[in-house]
Amino acid sequence: MTAHDHDHDHDDAHDHDHDHPHGPHPTREDDDLELTYSEARYLAMRGMLIKQGILTGDEIMRRLAVNDLASPHQGARMVARAWVDPAFKARMMADAKSAARELDIAVTEAKLTVIENTPQTHNLVVCTLCSCYPRSLLGEPPAWYVSKAYRSRAVREPRKVLGEFGLAFPGDVEVRVHDSNADLRYMIMPLRPEGTEGLSEEALAALIPRDALVGAALVDRPA
């Protein structure tokens, strides 16, 4: 085969994989970045798997499209709904995967647990052993979450780590760390800020930053 036997339309939805060894364009918006050894290894692996008939470029693209549906906004939608709808909140606390389905969010991890912050307890999530995170809901974790510094320190000095994120808690508040080390995945339900009584569910969701969903930020009242 030649180096140019695929089209360059960059259209994920219309790749023409079939019998070609490499299917759709394997890259897109980062084409101007220098190729690294890791990316070259990925491309080599992908090419061989397709050539050997183990998977197709279409399958990768379809999965990519599914993965792209996950984002912190989906978690924020669940939290905002729970803030305004106590019955939904009760269902979410009992079975977060089923509650997510009510909002057309497909959570594929084995078990999703929502943990509620209260005025007495602030919760923080970490995966010390790797990078467990509710990816099918929130997408890929932020770089800080997978850093060795966070994984090492969050369990031993959570208040110092939270301080680096600009969060300080009074002496009577409990800080509770959740090591997401096995089969469960966690999302934090942050405290609803004061002064948001009149806001719509959508407006409430828009207030919730990504990092609040694992306990590394608070939700500020609207400016």
């Binding site: 208040r159 002496g171 409990e174 080390n181 096995a182």
Partner: protein
């Protein structure tokens, strides 16, 4: 699926064992030997220590969330005495304490 040993009950005191098992395990060193309480009984899951070597579809074993006082995990803990940590531990790493 889990006939052999009684399950740990919510609120029970448990000690995390140090099984000294080589290879892939999900019980980090920092909790081994420590005493906590069962915070949640999570259901039964396949053992990752088997799955990590391609042995899938095996028996499901109970998984718990165990809660510790931070001061019990870290002798030099600098936070507040009420601070806690919760972690998932499989049944065979626990014994009543």
């Amino acid at each position: 699926m889990w006939p052999d040993a009684p399950r740990h009950a919510l609120g029970a005191q448990v000690r995390i064992l140090d099984l000294g098992k080589p290879g892939h395990v999900r019980t980090p060193l920092y909790v081994r030997g420590k005493v906590g309480v069962i915070d949640q009984v999570c259901g039964d899951f396949e053992n990752p220590e088997e799955r990590a070597y391609g042995r899938v579809g095996g028996a499901r074993i109970p998984l718990y969330r165990v809660r510790f006082a931070q001061a019990d995990l870290w002798p030099d803990y600098e936070g507040r005495p009420q601070d806690q940590l919760v972690i998932e531990i499989y049944h065979h790493w626990l014994q009543p304490a």
